[in-house]
Symmetry: C2
Subunit: 442 residues, 2 copies
Amino acid sequence: MLFNLFIIDTGHHEASWRLPGSQPLAHIDVDYHERLARIAEAAKFDSVFLADSPVLWNNPGRRPSGRLEPITLLTALARATQRIGLIATASTSYNDPYNLARRFASLDHISGGRAGWNIVTTAGDDAARNFGLEAQPAHAERYERAAEFVEVSRKLWDSWEDDAIVADADSGVHALEDRVHEIDHAGRFFRVRGPLNLPRAPQGHPVLVQAGSSQDGRDFAARYAEAVFTAQQTLAEGQAFYADLKRRAAAAGRDPDGVKILPGIVPVLGSTEAEARELEAELDRLIVPEHARRQLARLLRVEPEQLPLDAELPASLPAEDEIEGAKSRYTLVVELARRERLTVRQLIGRLGGGRGHRTFAGTPEQVADTIEYWGAHGAADGFNVMPAVLPSGLKLFAEHVAPILRRRGLMRTEYEGTTLRDHYGLARPASQYAAEPALART
Amino acid sequence: MLFNLFIIDTGHHEASWRLPGSQPLAHIDVDYHERLARIAEAAKFDSVFLADSPVLWNNPGRRPSGRLEPITLLTALARATQRIGLIATASTSYNDPYNLARRFASLDHISGGRAGWNIVTTAGDDAARNFGLEAQPAHAERYERAAEFVEVSRKLWDSWEDDAIVADADSGVHALEDRVHEIDHAGRFFRVRGPLNLPRAPQGHPVLVQAGSSQDGRDFAARYAEAVFTAQQTLAEGQAFYADLKRRAAAAGRDPDGVKILPGIVPVLGSTEAEARELEAELDRLIVPEHARRQLARLLRVEPEQLPLDAELPASLPAEDEIEGAKSRYTLVVELARRERLTVRQLIGRLGGGRGHRTFAGTPEQVADTIEYWGAHGAADGFNVMPAVLPSGLKLFAEHVAPILRRRGLMRTEYEGTTLRDHYGLARPASQYAAEPALART
């Protein structure tokens, strides 16, 4: 199975920075991130991953806020590690394909073929207001732009054929000009001439990752994604999502095995189950409910006062189609609250722990069991591991869960390949401009 | 005096990659760049610098083409060095201020305060065509956008006050919300709400560098630049430029000493003058004149056939005002050719050696002499060192020129500070939002 470490400063639990011994400036500390990446690499994780949005996400009063830009930070991590994959989030709504394709190709060169791109369309009006807009583009429009953005990027990544550079000092010919292509893209959102100002990257292009689970998001993933991060609360939901996405990939003419599905898991580890539950309870006690309620109210499009802490969610809330923001997250939160009849306070605890991802408090054995069970029952090709507390949760996973997984043959003992594509079992794409056999052109 | 190493793959001479023992894939090799940065740091250079443009600059047949994106590459170099400054070029015409300000602040955090931004407006229609335009915006318009871009960036860099983060675990307050500011910028080119999604950087903001010497460029530099890279062929021209820019800075209400001026020098070093001249001649012999003539023709807006190799430039060429591209470069090239009555072939040799910067072939003593002379006679606060051949030209400079400069008190023996601002003798800017004394607000 595949294992991705999702790093977020002091951990995925929003109160993790308040624990004794935490590093409250972790979010802007490159040494800290290097230590985490090295631990993950020593445990033979496939990849590390950094989320991102071009906006100040949280209320900065509440938890560490504002982070180092992921491609930049992963470049530093690339030099501190040798094998582990490096996946950065970047927005298709608030970037230009030429610049972004260049930066990902640079990371792929610098890391020797370990780059991945988590493609997001960036929900929310707040982000839009940092880019000259009053409100975010509609959901469907964001995904249409994302699709064209990826098409342009792939053309740019392919614009130098693999054998373009000959570096013949005698004749003075550095590259064969007919193997470096203008792409002449002209579409609804972009007109880009190319070629890219960088020779082809070691992986051809970065591994393409996607993480939205709305209908638009699934269709997008089926067409383009090579790995999918997803939030699934129950095995049944996980199985349904897994089957649906593999089916859609096949319907789009792709090998379903070329789309790896990694649900999130927020392990809260203790040497006994009771110890794990005590840590979970301590973390939930440290959440400041007023802050959390404001954030929940914003997601649900209601006023904070409409959410009394000890009552369930109001009966009337907007339907998913009315939401132009993060549709799948909205539905996940509402369904979680309704299904388990959670009060606002309980819901806040669940969301504060892993922002809607599945929290699992238990012993290393129990965590390994659930990972194995989901893998064996058609719900996961691997897991997006999101420790509630960092670095301690990662260390516990590496020291106590990983050895169990290795004994069961579910986690590698040594890297076999050198690139992220090698680790994920994904083929290296050929350049779309290399259709004609090389001989015919020389 | 200040010393900046301008790195460009195998060296500034376009034929440097053809020399025996060169590394023709240097331009995409991070290890190679790390070695250069370490040599420069050991020699106590103030900074290293990478040029850039969001377009494939050269004909890729001719010389190593397409490079790693500079901020990404410098992030790797930041982890391989401890003190040396790291200056990246980025375009104000083809970026968004929110994203670019974030990336430079990230580099400044990751490097511990060593980031610099060479602000360029990016001349040329080819770049425009990678961003949905048919032709570049007019010269004055590009500079107007650049000015607003810098204003927005400075607001974003200032949006977190230095003392915003308190990280009080007991109360659960991570940052003081009233010290994190929306910037609410609304101008001709940009509407940006802010705040930046990253706490304030070690230097406040990166050192602002500028390199265009047109009238618009000089006005821009006088208002914003803290360092200026410039191409000056003769001492008299260098003195005139230096005096003019310092005067403009004073007229803009700034301390002229807060604008450091670094002309480019392309040292071609030999242990004797004859040996240096032999290397220069060998390099010029390796230029492929047809390639170079095409590039010259494009700059001059004529057809290659109008430039016979063994004749001088045509008498009638456009005036600088008619050029919407790189105005100062255009004028420099035309004036150089006219002043020295160069044939096209000779001009190509001069440009191939350092793209219009001053080439100086000689012994280490002679190179040190000219550096000292320009510094003592009001033409330079330091030099932008552009070795014709890398890494050998840098090694020769470090081993043979730097010791002479140190003996003369012109180059440091040890770093005194830790940031690029320390090295350049520039003050750390206060946040523009921190006007009120902190006490009044608590």
